[in-house]
Symmetry: C3
Subunit: 374 residues, 3 copies
């Protein structure tokens, strides 16, 4: 049992497991000076993710992962790929993540806060259909692939494609796990009617409001770069990233705007656990004294500063800057259940939503998540 | 095997099962005096429910149930919750039923007729996201919770919530199983654009017609009360409920209308089985002589009077009254397969659909269901 | 393990298996003389099928199969039925294929090319809700059923129904497997607003273009007949079909148009395998030297001529004729993984899309598929 039973015939190369997760969110977002006429502020809640799927291997070193999300009573396929997995190299076919950011690549089951760092959504990182190769050698891991678009968007009329790569160096030094990573991405768009805009929610997803948002601009390319660093030392962990996005505007004489996002966080397990890490991303934390053994589970405190800058005055884009000061308390009663309590203070500058004519203000956000996975 | 294999590691607290059901309905609804110009009458059919999901437990007394319905080639999540289950108390997180009516809480796999009593749909009972507690002590069971809305409807712009509670006393007396229940519900709505209407189909679901229906009215609250009684005595069972709904109208000077629904039924297994009952609802019937053992399966006859009153002349609402006289024959060849044959005579008064100017008339309804679950 | 674990309790009659498939397609369709102003030509790709489901049996000789397709992030139920399976006869309830064409009835996991012969889609063969009986006696198999419509289309307002039957004689002669089949279909439509048209994509599905297409005509009946023949002789196989469709036009004085489609193909396993066959359709091929045993898997070459005639000059319909000359190379590294490479030269006459005023021209199509099933 790994959440659900793992069936296998190791000799022959078979294994199989059903997998899934439920994440329920409850949130409160303040309405500064009650100045925004919307019902998207105040209380909100949702099924954030409701996934079910399968994973397995077949003889000949093939493996697959196929998972659907039914949140909102809609279908959105998540991982839906298969791969050939050699000792050093693997080749993947289908929809999978295209190698942007430690936060983005870490499963939502294991991230530090309810929502990932603001830049990951703002820059629209997502899984796309593609073919990629992974090389693993000691502490080094290299991913590179070519991708088209996500399963909803592909089809005869959409010929966008991207090249994506990420390199990770993850040595264990003096009992600690270090992580250094860098990624680069370039996307060529074609026939994207309506253009692209970058925007972000206020650290919770159940509301639809975005205090920061660029206008929608006709876009022919996207180029982004990211650097990552993290470390796990016993109950402590540190993590930080920086990511730059350049939007190639498809207008004569236009200046291409650049945007930036990043974060730095520190976490500590009061109950002595150590954050899980595996294959270039954070992984499941093993609880030392779970409630089924008479313990109280694991308690972790996390602090993060998360920054997103959607302004580029040279290019005439004023999407706003959002700085979030965040505190999180996570309770993991058993390995497969988590409860998250998050507080964020958002400081906004040049926000996309003006309050009594003012675009610089603060917002308070409280969120809770109840999560099980299997 | 319980329909499908149940995997478990009792020692550690794990178990896991895939679950699902298929219900195919075929129906004929008469067109009184051929007076209704619609193609919704006459023959109709549908996949009534096509569900697949999982359930399981993890160490630490956590349990989950997560099931999606794909009927109509659309996704609608049914139960999607997890809970902590102590000896006496349980706490549930996520989308689950909010404690209204024995009929509503009994699984569609085990209900007496193809459709539940008219008031359950008319009053829009459904699963919603919430947090609830269950206390079980001997023959007593108490459920209480606070709910927001269903998975489709929640989000930043919907701040409705409800308080729901139900108490059940289910003693075994002289070899019979008795059931007494009462429930109360109060819901505060907010930003429900378009208001609420109450209406109901003619005891089959494959047609979209509703002979009874209130107008849509701006609504700020819903308050309802229900009482339940049932008994199982060998091959016999009896069941009856009454439910009152008060609609709080959000208009100055408006009188709040009240509606009522209820039913009484009696069933008998010709083949000697006894209707299943467990935890405050009807449950699976165990077939005495299933076809795989050379028997003919279980045959059950059921008669029901089902009544729905959507009139409130004080409040100026004339939604109509529907009385259904129903006969059902159920064949259960093996525990997990059921075939239902239903006949209903509907007597309508003040119906929402006039036939040659007449709003009082009768309708004949024949329905069949073929069902498997696992 | 049969792709995924098969759980069973043979004694009692239980078994259960999760099942699924992923098919990713990449295609290039030439734009003749660059004469079509569309972005549907050139490169396209998609998740062709992304299915997950279950199948099982219960005591009493009941069996079920329930599978959903999530390609395009939409739900489309595929097989969703249960049946009673005796030694000679079986009765099926629910959505299943209605007995048209060897190609249509062969699973997409085992078909020769990426797309089935043009007539199968053009004539809109699909799974529909129905009740059918199957008789199997030695080398003979007879299917007959009555069907309504597919799960999306049924409902009160749709009263179409069809009668469908197919007979197969499949003797083994001198070490070879022969297959002879014939099918007949008649459908009565009712309230199909908008009428019916017949059309087809250019042998790949990721583009939405159709070079051949009839106009949409008000239709009251569809009647079709098909004949099938196939043979498997060691590494060789042959297959051919012919299918006639008559559209009953619901207009006074209209002549009912007839359409025709068919194909002939020959395939050869360079690596010595023999194409699988079972129960009246092609089945999984067992790889002789799979990659997990140090082999190179199975390689199969296939050639096909596929013809579709949507013209009926007597009836005044000029939908076009499409002849496809096709070459396919299939690599099956292990039993459950396939890679397909297809080339098709389409010769069009009276095409629905004119190029510089010309309706007779050729199109080149290259397609690739990566597939895993379990």
């Amino acid at each position: 049992f790994k959440g659900s039973p793992l069936f296998g015939d190791k000799e022959a190369g078979w294994d199989f497991k059903v997998r899934g997760r439920l994440q329920y969110d409850f949130a409160y977002v303040s309405n500064p000076s009650n100045g925004v006429a919307t019902n998207e502020l105040g209380f909100s809640n949702e099924l954030r993710r409701g996934r079910i799927g399968v994973e397995g291997t077949t003889p000949g070193s093939f493996a697959y992962k196929f998972e659907a999300d039914f949140a909102g009573n809609e279908v959105e396929l998540a991982d839906a790929y298969f791969q050939w997995k050699g000792k050093v190299a693997a080749i993947s076919f289908g929809q999978h993540n295209n190698f942007q950011s430690l936060e983005e690549l870490t499963s939502s089951r294991f991230i530090s806060f309810m929502e990932r760092a603001a830049f990951t959504d703002a820059f629209a990182f997502e899984r796309r259909i593609g073919v990629s190769a992974t090389l693993t050698q000691g502490d080094f891991k290299l991913d590179a692939g070519v991708f088209t678009d996500d399963i909803s968007s592909v089809g005869g009329g959409n010929n966008s494609y991207s090249l994506d790569a990420r390199a990770v160096f993850a040595p264990e030094i003096a009992g600690g796990q270090l992580h250094f990573g860098a990624s680069a991405h370039h996307r060529e768009l074609n026939d994207i009617s309506g253009g692209i805009r970058y925007r972000q929610r206020p650290q919770v997803h159940s509301t639809g409001i975005r205090f920061v948002a660029t206008p929608t601009l006709p876009t022919s390319t996207e180029t982004s770069y990211g650097v990552e660093a993290a470390g796990i030392f016993g109950p402590f962990h540190l993590a930080g990233e920086a990511h730059w996005m350049e939007q190639g505007i498809d207008l004569p004489g236009a200046t291409d705007p650049s945007y930036f996002g990043g974060y730095a966080e520190v976490g500590y397990f009061f109950t002595g656990e150590s954050r899980g890490y595996k294959g270039g991303t954070f992984d499941r934390t093993k609880v030392k004294n779970p409630v089924n053994k008479g313990g109280m589970g694991a308690f972790q405190g996390i602090a993060r500063v998360d920054y997103l800058d959607l302004n580029d005055s040279d290019a005439g884009v004023l999407g706003g800057k959002q700085t979030a000061y965040q505190l999180g308390l996570t309770w993991i009663p058993v390995d497969y259940v988590r409860f998250l309590l998050n507080y964020s203070r958002l400081e906004l500058k040049d926000a996309a939503i003006a309050i009594n004519g003012d675009r610089d203000y603060g917002v308070d956000v409280v969120g809770m998540r109840a999560q099980i996975d299997f």
